[in-house]
C-alpha cells in the first residue's frame, strides 16, 4: 500500500456537496486533495456531441456507479429481507450535479423549524397523536434561515441559480408580480438571472392553477438563461432548451454543477488537486480522529491518504456506509432518520391541444407552493381527523417527455402493449403531461440506513441497506395532494386524467436525506450545526445526510449552502477540530 503525501484537507467524492468546501478551503491556502471515484467527463469531450442519447445516459445509466461500487439493498420494514435495489446516484466528476435537473430552492424559514412550527399551529388541537404512534422523529435544525441566508446567496451567485424573486427583504414580489413565488423566504440580493421561459406545458399548467385562484410561478433553476459571468469570474452561455437535460450532462455548460461552476476556479489554485477513479473504501481513525483514508485506484492498487481535516462528499448512502463500515458511530446516530421522497402520480392528456412535451428540459416548469409547508394550515384543520396531515408538497409541470422515458405511463385501462396501446401512444405522446408532486416526508425511528449483512461491493464493503416505508402522514398527504393535482389539470382542460393517490416509498428517488442529522445534542444527532461529526471532530459530513427534515422542495441548493456554511466555520475558526462540542 502506497502512502500519499499528507494534505491539510481530504475530500471524499466530488459532487454537489464537495464543490464549495474544496474550493473555499483551497482559497484559504490549505492543501486540498479530492478523491473522486468516478471518471472525469467534460462538456467538450463527452456532452457536446455525446449527450443527445437517452438510451446511453438515462436508460443504461453510463454515469451511475452500479453495484460494484455502490451496492444498495432495500426493504420496507425489519421483518423483510432486503433485496438489491437501484437508486439513482452518480459516479463522475461533479457527481449528480452533472446529470441532475437543476430545480433549485432556498428552504423556507419554517423548513428549519418544523417541530416548533407544528407545535405552534396544531399543538393544542390534539391532532398530532398519530405522529407519535408512527414514531415520527421530527427535530428542528440547529440553524435558522437568517443565519444561513448569506450562504444561499453565495451559492446562487457563484454556482448560478436564476429565478424571479418572490420576496426581497420582506417586500413581496417586487420585480415581477406575475412570476415570483410569494411564499419565498426573504432574500437580500436578487437572483443573478431570470429562470427559463414557459413552454406549452407550463402555460397549460398555469392556466389551470390561475383558474383555481392559486399562485403559479416559474420555478427557480440552476440553468443560465443568458450568457452570464459568475462571482467567480466563470462565463457560461445561456440554455438552448435542447431538453437532453435531466439524466444527461449539458452540451452547452448552461446547467450549473460543481463540474462547470466551481471546479475551474478550484483548479486554478496550485494547492488544489483532484484525483479521479480513486474509490475510498475506509476511513482510518485513532483516538477519536480520522488519520487517513484508504482508496483503490483504477488499476486496483490500494493507497493511503493521510490528512488533517476530512470531508465526506460521497452522497448520503456512501457517506453513511463509509462511516459505519469504518466503525465511526460511537453515539449510535449514524444511519438513523433517513428520509426519502415518497411517490404518487397525476398524469393527463389533452384532446384540444398539443403540448409537445419533449421540446424542453424537465425543469422548464411552472409550479405552485400553495399546498407546500404549512401554507394551508387552516384548511388542513378542516379535514377529517383521519385525513389531517402536517407539511405539504410543491406541484409543478415538468417537460422532457421523450418517448423512451414516457412509454410506461398510460391510463390504467390500457394495457401497456399491443394494438390499443400503440394507438394510444401514437396519438398522445404529444398531448401528455405528468405532474411533479414533491411531497415532504417526515423522519421516523423505523426508517434508516445500515450495513447489509448479505451483500458487499467488489472491495468487500457491505452494501447500504435502506429500511424505509411511508407512514400515515405521507399516505394522507398523498391522497390530498393527488386530488389537488387532478383539480389543476381539470381546470386546465385535460381530457383524460389518471394517477395514483396511494403514496409509495420507491427506491428510485433522488432525494435521499438524513442518516447523519445535525442537532444540538450528541444523544439525538450525528453532527453539530457545522456538519462536524460529534464523535470524530476532524470529520465533516457534506450533503443531505445532515438534514433533520426534508421540505417539499428539492435539496441541492441547500446542500450547496451547507457546504459554504461549513467552510465558513472551518475558515473562521468557529469549530474546534479536537472537540465538536466546542464551537461558536
Amino acid at each position: 500500500m502506497a502512502v500519499q503525501p499528507r494534505k491539510d484537507v481530504v475530500v471524499i467524492g466530488y459532487g454537489a456537496a464537495a464543490g464549495p468546501v474544496s474550493l473555499e478551503l483551497a482559497q484559504d491556502g490549505r492543501s486540498v486533495i479530492v478523491l473522486e471515484s468516478g471518471k472525469r467527463r467534460t462538456t467538450e469531450q463527452d456532452f457536446q456531441r455525446g449527450s443527445f442519447d437517452t438510451l446511453r445516459w438515462r436508460t443504461r445509466g453510463e454515469m451511475l456507479p452500479g453495484p460494484e461500487r455502490a451496492p444498495m439493498t432495500y426493504r420496507k420494514s425489519e421483518d423483510e429481507d432486503a433485496l438489491p435495489a437501484s437508486y439513482i446516484m452518480a459516479s463522475t466528476v461533479g457527481g449528480a450535479s452533472v446529470h441532475w435537473s437543476g430545480q433549485s430552492w432556498r428552504y423556507y424559514e419554517d423548513d428549519f423549524r418544523v417541530k416548533s412550527r407544528i407545535e405552534e399551529l396544531y399543538g393544542d388541537t390534539g391532532r398530532l397523536d398519530y405522529l407519535q404512534e408512527d414514531r415520527a422523529a421530527i427535530q428542528d435544525w440547529p440553524i435558522s434561515y437568517d443565519e444561513v441566508e448569506p450562504f444561499y446567496e453565495k451559492a446562487e451567485w457563484q454556482i448560478g441559480i436564476g429565478g424571479w424573486p418572490g420576496n426581497i427583504d420582506g417586500e413581496i414580489r417586487p420585480v415581477n408580480p406575475e412570476e415570483g413565488n410569494p411564499y419565498e423566504a426573504p432574500r437580500k440580493r436578487d437572483y443573478p438571472f431570470r429562470p427559463l421561459r414557459d413552454n406549452a406545458t407550463d402555460l397549460t399548467f398555469r392556466q389551470g392553477a390561475l383558474e383555481l385562484g392559486l399562485r403559479p410561478f416559474h420555478v427557480p433553476t440552476a440553468i443560465t438563461t443568458e450568457t452570464w459571468t459568475s462571482d467567480l469570474g466563470i462565463t457560461r452561455p445561456g440554455c438552448t432548451y435542447c431538453a437532453f437535460c435531466t439524466s444527461h450532462g449539458c452540451w452547452n455548460a448552461s446547467k450549473s454543477s460543481s463540474l462547470v461552476s466551481l471546479l475551474p476556479a478550484a483548479e486554478e489554485l496550485d494547492n488544489f488537486e483532484i484525483r479521479t477513479e480513486a474509490h475510498v473504501i475506509r476511513l482510518n481513525h485513532e483516538n477519536g480522529r480520522v488519520t487517513s483514508v484508504t482508496y483503490v485506484d483504477e488499476q486496483g492498487d490500494v493507497h493511503e491518504q493521510p490528512g488533517d481535516i476530512f470531508i465526506l462528499g460521497a452522497y448520503t448512502f456512501q457517506n453513511v456506509r463509509l462511516m459505519l463500515h469504518s466503525g465511526i458511530d460511537a453515539n449510535g446516530q449514524i444511519g438513523k432518520y433517513f428520509i426519502n421522497r415518497p411517490s404518487i402520480k397525476v398524469s393527463a392528456t389533452f384532446d384540444d391541444r398539443y403540448l409537445n412535451g419533449w421540446n424542453g428540459p424537465a425543469v422548464q416548469r411552472q409550479g405552485v407552493d400553495d399546498f407546500n409547508g404549512e401554507n394551508i394550515a387552516e384548511r388542513k384543520l378542516e379535514l377529517a381527523e383521519d385525513a389531517f396531515f402536517i407539511r405539504g408538497a410543491f406541484i409543478g409541470s415538468p417537460s422532457q417527455r421523450f418517448p423512451l422515458q414516457t412509454f410506461g405511463d398510460h391510463p390504467d385501462d390500457i394495457r401497456g402493449w399491443g394494438a390499443e396501446y400503440k394507438d394510444y401512444f401514437t396519438e398522445n405522446l404529444n398531448r401528455y403531461i405528468s405532474l411533479q408532486l414533491l411531497m415532504e416526508p417526515l423522519p421516523y425511528e423505523d426508517n434508516y440506513i445500515d450495513l447489509d449483512p448479505n451483500y458487499t461491493d467488489r472491495f468487500g464493503v457491505p452494501a447500504a441497506r435502506v429500511t424505509n416505508r411511508v407512514h400515515s402522514n405521507e399516505e394522507r398527504m398523498g391522497r390530498f395532494i393527488h386530488d389537488r393535482g387532478v383539480e389543476i389539470l381539470e381546470a386546465a382542460g385535460a381530457s383524460r386524467i389518471w394517477g395514483r393517490a396511494e403514496a409509495t416509498a420507491r427506491p428510485t428517488m433522488t432525494h435521499d436525506l438524513g442518516g447523519a442529522r445535525m442537532g444540538d445534542d450528541p444523544a439525538n444527532s450525528a453532527t453539530n450545526r457545522y456538519c462536524q461529526v460529534w464523535t470524530m471532530p476532524n470529520l465533516f459530513v457534506g450533503g443531505g445526510a445532515v438534514a433533520p427534515t426534508m421540505s417539499g422542495h428539492n435539496p441541492t441548493e441547500t446542500i450547496w449552502m451547507l457546504s459554504y456554511w461549513m467552510s465558513d466555520a472551518i475558515r473562521n475558526g468557529k469549530v474546534n477540530l479536537d472537540d465538536a462540542s466546542d464551537f461558536s
Binding site: 442519447d53 437517452t54 435542447c242 394495457r415 405522446l429 404529444n430
Partner: protein, 212 residues
Amino acid sequence: MTTQQPPTSQRPPWTQLSRRGVLRIGVGGTAAAIAYHASALDLLAQEQQGYAVFNVTDGRTIEAIVERIWPESDTPGAVEIGVPRYIDNALIGAYQHKQLDYHKGLRNLDAAARRMHGTVFAALEPDQQTALLESMENDELDEFDEGEGSEFFSTIHQHTMEGLFADPIYGGNKDMAAWRAVGYPGPFYAISEQSQQSFEPLDLPMQSITDL
C-alpha cells in the same frame, strides 16, 4: 373522459413518411431506405440471416413477440422497425448478461405454445400469441418458475421500447420510423421559443444523433 382521435389533418406531418423524409434517407445511400418499403415478410427473411445471438427458431419467436407488443397498423410494426436487430445487438453488447434469460425464456414460451396449441409460438395466430404473452405477463404459464414469466415479459417489453425509441445508431428505430409514428422528431441542439409555445403539431425536420 375519453380520448378522441384527432382528425388526420391535425396529425404531425412526420407521421406520414414525407417525400423529404425519403430523400433524406436516400441521400445516406443505405439499404435502409429500400428496406423501409419492403414488406415485413421480406424483412423477416433478411433479418434471420444475420442475428448474432438468436438462432433461427429464437429469431422467429422474438420477432413474433415484439410484433405483438408493437404491431403493424397504419405505421410499421416492431419487426419492420428493426427491434429484433436492436435486441440482438444489445445482447452481444451492453446486455450480454441477459443472453441466458432470453434463451431460457424463449424456450419456455415455445414449450407453452406447444402444450396449449401443439405448435411453436411463431406459428400461432396473432390473437393466440397475444393471449399467451398475457399469460406469461401474468405468471400463469407453468413452464416458467415463480415470477420468471412476468420478469421475462418485462425484460422483452423494456427492450422492445428501447428498440423502438432509442436513436437509430443502436440498430433499432430504423429510418426513425418509431419516432415518426409518435411524433417525435429526434434530438436538436436548440429549440425555439416559437416551437416551445406552440399548441399545434410541430413541423421540425426528422434527425438522429448522426445528423447533429
